[in-house]
Chain length 162, copies 4
């Protein structure tokens, strides 16, 4: 009986030309070096570079795909979960991850940040969305300057939770 | 063969003590008066008052419930869809609505706004989230001062789309 | 405050050439005549003819679509819920319906029958799947000879449940 | 860049007292020995014994949980995906697995068999549901006498597919 693995998600834009590719790679590598499994949306851009980083450090990578075909996964995904749910898979990612890092990202990423905070998962952002609400207090999204800072904070939080 | 009905969603907080109850009622009433069907998350707070308003104007109300029991629906829901999907039902709401109004709301509402904009649905907010992203252009969330202004804009947009 | 409407589902094959179209029409009509809302998968074949029957009797029809576009609905759907979930929407149908009739149908219909029985919803079949399991007792699928017999049984069961 | 892993699902009853526990263990072990990843519903009974077997052979195990808490997973799950989708997660399992074995099982398992066949995934049963449909030809569920026979057939089919 081996212990259940920790899952840490990296969310971000699918644009293959993303200027965030080095940061994504570092995040993936750092997650694997800290002995957690990388979870992501399985597509291109930030997701692909994070998976590449995790594999480079000998880590395991999971892609929660929106579509119904495993071949949709980028080349660095070990385990492709073809959910067939479209954007509803964002809700699974925000639920099953023990911690979440948002790096850049579009509106899909914003939905993941919102649900991750809603689910009280430790969540942190780098160069990503800022938001606030009229006349109300909600958990804020902490911001990190770089991958190491983000992961140090995230794993400290996750340590407290488990 | 009757024409397919238009669905307009109202998203917002479930807090039964919400100070937005009169605005929610007006939104629901206005949607019914404009001959659209109200869709919402089916729970209390903004969702309940919007459904109450729609019924008061003789309209039809649909609740996309997160849980697996129809009795979870508030008393003003005509048709309860017990999805059993939790927050993943937010993605359905943001997909199936022809137009969306966000009124106040917590992080669940933020996830719905994000996905509605992602899906290019006409979407407008009243006293709700503001957000922007580092170094990137995304569709902005238009803001209305009151329900009439919100619905006038929304139905004009929907007219263009259909 | 109007009372919540009862939802009765008709499941069956999407084949537009289905020989079951008259039975489907009768089922839809009977559901509307009994003052319930017809729920179905929203596509062609049995789903379309059942919706046509329900509208012919002045009833309301809901289509839980697998895809992400409302235009996928057949012409007799009043309210199209574009779930974007693919076959996972079958689980919603089997959960939210107060009663289910299976008429013919392929493997998708079999999955809906199985989940409907699993959820202890009153469920009955006409010319549909038969199944049994090695060495085990499960709720059986009752079989009706025609739509009237099916609906009489179903509404009697639903009466008991509510 | 490591090659994407093959996923093979074992479906079956959650009853902890299942008489099928030795067969489930053998299935899990055989899947791991054939270098595939075991996917299952993550709960007790057949799912737990299959995961135990896979771990005993050094394999990796994934649990697609219906609930929203990873701790719901049995003790032999390496990677818990808390979907929060209830039975709708059955549709994911039937979609993402490259091959499926059904061992015994209740109505949830029947829904998984139906969708797996619908998705044209190689699928085989041991001591499980038998079904047929009035007046129609559908893909049949092949039946195996034991785990070795089931897996030999399944991997031969999967070989052809990929």
């Amino acid at each position: 009986m081996s212990p259940r693995r920790r899952l840490v998600a990296v969310c971000g834009e699918s644009d293959p030309q993303t200027p965030l590719k080095d940061l994504a790679f570092e995040l993936g590598r750092g997650i694997a070096q800290r002995n957690a499994v990388l979870v992501c949306g399985g597509l291109s851009g930030v997701m692909e570079h994070a998976a590449r980083g995790a594999q480079a450090a000998g880590g395991l990578t999971i892609g929660l795909l929106p579509g119904d075909v495993s071949d949709e996964a980028n080349a660095y995904i070990d385990i492709a979960i073809a959910t067939g749910l479209g954007h509803a898979r964002n809700a699974i990612l925000a639920l099953t991850a023990d911690g979440i890092v948002a790096l850049g990202g579009g509106l899909g990423t914003l939905s993941e940040i919102a649900l991750a905070l809603r689910n009280r998962r430790p969540t942190i952002g780098i160069k990503t969305w800022r938001f606030d609400r009229h006349n109300r207090t909600e958990p804020e999204l902490p911001v990190a300057a770089n991958p190491t800072e983000a992961l140090d904070w995230l794993f400290a939080q996750m340590g407290r939770v488990s």
